[in-house]
Amino acid sequence: MSDTVLKIDRLCKHFPIRKGFLGRQTGAVKAVDGVDFRVGRGEIFGLVGESGCGKSTIGRAILRAFDITSGRIIYSPQPHVEIELGTMNEAELRPLRRELQMIFQDPYSSLNPRMTVSEIIGEPLRLNRLMDGAQIREEVSRLLRDVGLNPSHMNRYPHAFSGGQRQRIGIARALVMKPRFVVADEAVSALDVSVQAQILELLLKLKAQYSLSYLFISHDLSVIKYLCTRVGVMYVGKLVEVASRDALFRQPLHPYTQALISVVPIPNPRQRTRFRLLEGEVANPAAPPGGCYFHPRCPFAKRICRDTEPALRNVAAEGDAEHMVACHFAGEVGV
């Protein structure tokens, strides 16, 4: 993949733990700890992992919702143009903010209940003085049609809409500034199954229509497999595996990825498996174990796994697409 829209380089986000009256820092939660990946132009890159693994923190770091601890976030609006977002201050970021947008998980709390749909979607246009009132209304109508809502409902308030419809409003809001890159954080997780499929199809349609690239963050492997072109699996602030969707689901190489896939209940009563268990709990990101963070739960852990942290390395055969794994025994253990 030669054309990259976003490149994350050794990204770290540590949240300080402060104690006592003087608020002295006594430690840090390493929410994201040295993550590298690239998102190709027009690609849907999926980030999957258990809650607390740092996947949402990465999404918010890219949008610079906070200052990052270290690393680089390189945004490339067009080929051969590279902009480093990680070190920018708020004033420098402002003109870029419209190009990187976010779709939120909860369509109930992410829309202001006191604003009409037209005000919610049109607000960025108004604040940036890009259009006058009539133009804004026209633009809002067009967006509502694009996301599958009736433009004549633009003067209604969010409470008048169902969860799926609200998510469509949230999507229209993200698209109004014509972004190039969209972070969708658990964008379909709160929806009913029948509506979830509608929104997934809508995201695919809009990607083509608006030439978007997505970072799609989800805990749901089935959704990730359906939507994404490449996938990164996270565990305790680090990527443990990155591969194309097909390679990852056909031949997962990290024991954690294998375990994660094996515990998804298959909707087929003729294929019942006793749930293969992943014992123990996710490691504490404030005090992770030594070596490979997954070793206390890994059924294949050996001495080296306790002592040495494995690097994320490419194990694909020459000529094949990249398949990165952070495991000392990648390809030798598991299924």
Binding site: D192, Q196, Q198, L200, H219, V263, P265, I266, P267
Partner: protein
Amino acid sequence: MTSASQTSDNTLLEVQGLKTHFFLDMGIVRAVDGVDFRISRGQTLGIVGESGCGKSVTAQSVMQIVPSPPGRIIDGSIVYFGSNSAVEISRFRANSREMRSIRGKEISYIFQEPMTSLSPVHTIGNQLEEAILLHTPVTRGEARGIAVEALARVRIGEPERIVNEYVHQLSGGMRQRVVIAQALSCNPQLLIADEPTTALDVTMQAQILRTIQDIQQESGMGLILITHDMGVIGQMADEVVVIYRGRVMEHGDVIAVFDEPLHPYTKALFDSIPRLDTDRPLRPISGSVPDPFLETTGCPFRDRCPSRFDACDSDAVPALAEVRPGHSARCYLHSGATEEGTE
């Protein structure tokens, strides 16, 4: 109305014609509007449906914990076949002595969100002991022993330490285990689990489901598993009830329902879920679940149904008809029968 004398076979609970409505200022919500099912000892019944379909209110009706007012069971019967006699639960008042002796002892309930059923200001041990002391003639010391055992049964490590801890000291998965331990502490005959793993990660979900399976195997309790997740149903249930807008749309053996779903709604649910085991394209269901206040006539699914035909224009609700032995559907495609009183 079922006569309670039919203590046939292994039946544990029988629900017939259940209607639970909510009388609100804005109108009446017919949350449960004609639900029938039966569950045997040791069996797992899956109740599946989207949010607002009435699956939780069905379960709350069985436990007599429907918030009232505004909710009220207005029709139907719920018969529980206890160890030696059959009792009609639907006749008891929610706070009656009879109901309190069944709730938590014979029939237990697990909520989706563990914090709904746990107190933040009591230790785990105290909360477990409360239920044990209420239902069994034991001393406080013995109750502590039972509580520790109950925690060990749901595979909580170091139960002797955990009994002295508070809820905020535990992770989400541990909390849900405590809730299950609490529900199982009095060895219920029937466990109703309402989306027990929806708020959890898949790894934790697998541990919890496995724990429930193991306990069911060793104790032979019946399980009503309420979920929107077809995967969980596919792995756990013996029989499935599919609910839409307060009515059972399809009911049958899990293999029959998954192999050959009869109702277009069930088929549409299967077609709209992304899954790991196949690569077929999704076919979303058009529209969304209608406003609960909306009064409708005829088939509740017809406005979203891809198989709608002339007969569906009828104002009468199709009856739940047995299409094959043990496999029924509420759909004019399979039977022209209509539900009484809806014409």
